[in-house]
């Protein structure tokens, strides 16, 4: 954790993005973008052994 703390300074107030009525912290936005990226990757990336299972070997 010390190493991560040295790379990224987390000891400050959160950053917020505001667009009209929308107000969101950068941290929450990053998590939402990551969830979407993981969701799309899970649909597209091949699962290990899938072809073998389908061929019934």
């Amino acid at each position: 954790m010390g190493l991560i703390g040295a790379l990224i300074n987390l000891d400050h107030y959160g950053h917020y993005l505001t667009w009209h009525w929308l107000n969101i912290s950068v941290a929450n936005l990053v998590v939402i973008v990551l969830m979407i990226a993981v969701f799309i990757s899970a649909l597209l990336l091949p699962f290990p052994g899938r072809a073998k299972r389908r061929s019934g070997k």
Partner: protein, 205 residues
């Protein structure tokens, strides 16, 4: 077997359960080939992180607030508790999206979908009361910001966010119990009905 024994509720329930949920279905050896996809791993990821949440929560309960606020090991276990919650919600939301776009309530699986959705809501409550149970300025700030919203719903009489003892009990007893029982029921229903198959391709027979 005598008819008196046959009519016992335990006998009748056991027979029904054995027929509805044989051991091979409860702990199956294989799954259908369509389950070999990354989108199917997020349910079990959610359960694994729930296990970690409960394990670290038990350690925090044993040691107490002074330990998790002041010792380095306490900070570490407190962080493990927080980050396993982050993984829990992350995986649960991806699981929810996957099941939503599969319309996973198909094939008499409505109750499976409902138990999953209610588990999500109960977990949001557990996370919220967790923020209130930290016993620091952060939890005081969150409780004072939340009180008006909660009170406006009319539940403030028996769910008082300014009552630390009550919020702690919701966080460590009632809501985890609800989440675990509902998760167990959810998994049993998945075993009972099976994993929802993908949509058939258009034009397929």
């Amino acid at each position: 077997m005598s008819s008196a024994v046959e009519q016992q509720w335990t006998t009748r329930l056991r027979k029904k359960l054995v027929v509805a949920m044989p051991a091979s279905q409860l702990l199956p050896d294989t799954q259908p080939s369509y389950v070999a996809s990354w989108i199917y791993v997020f349910g079990v990821t959610t359960m694994a992180s729930l296990g970690m949440v409960i394990l670290t929560g038990c350690v925090l309960a044993l040691e107490g607030p002074v330990w998790w606020h002041q010792s380095s090991v306490g900070h570490y276990v407190n962080s493990l508790h927080l980050w396993s919650v982050e993984v829990f919600f992350f995986a649960m939301v991806v699981h929810l999206w996957g099941k939503y776009f599969m319309a996973a309530w198909r094939g008499k699986r409505a109750l499976t979908w409902i138990t999953g959705a209610v588990t999500f809501l109960v977990s949001v409550g557990a996370a919220f009361t967790g923020y209130l149970s930290q016993s620091n300025f952060d939890s005081q700030w969150i409780s004072t910001q939340a009180k008006d919203g909660i009170n406006s719903t009319g539940v403030g009489g028996f769910f008082n966010v300014l009552n630390l003892g009550q919020m702690l009990m919701w966080h460590i007893v009632l809501l985890p119990l609800g989440a675990v029982v509902l998760t167990g029921l959810h998994v049993l229903l998945v075993r009972y009905r099976g994993v929802v198959p993908p949509f058939e391709e258009k034009g397929a027979a």
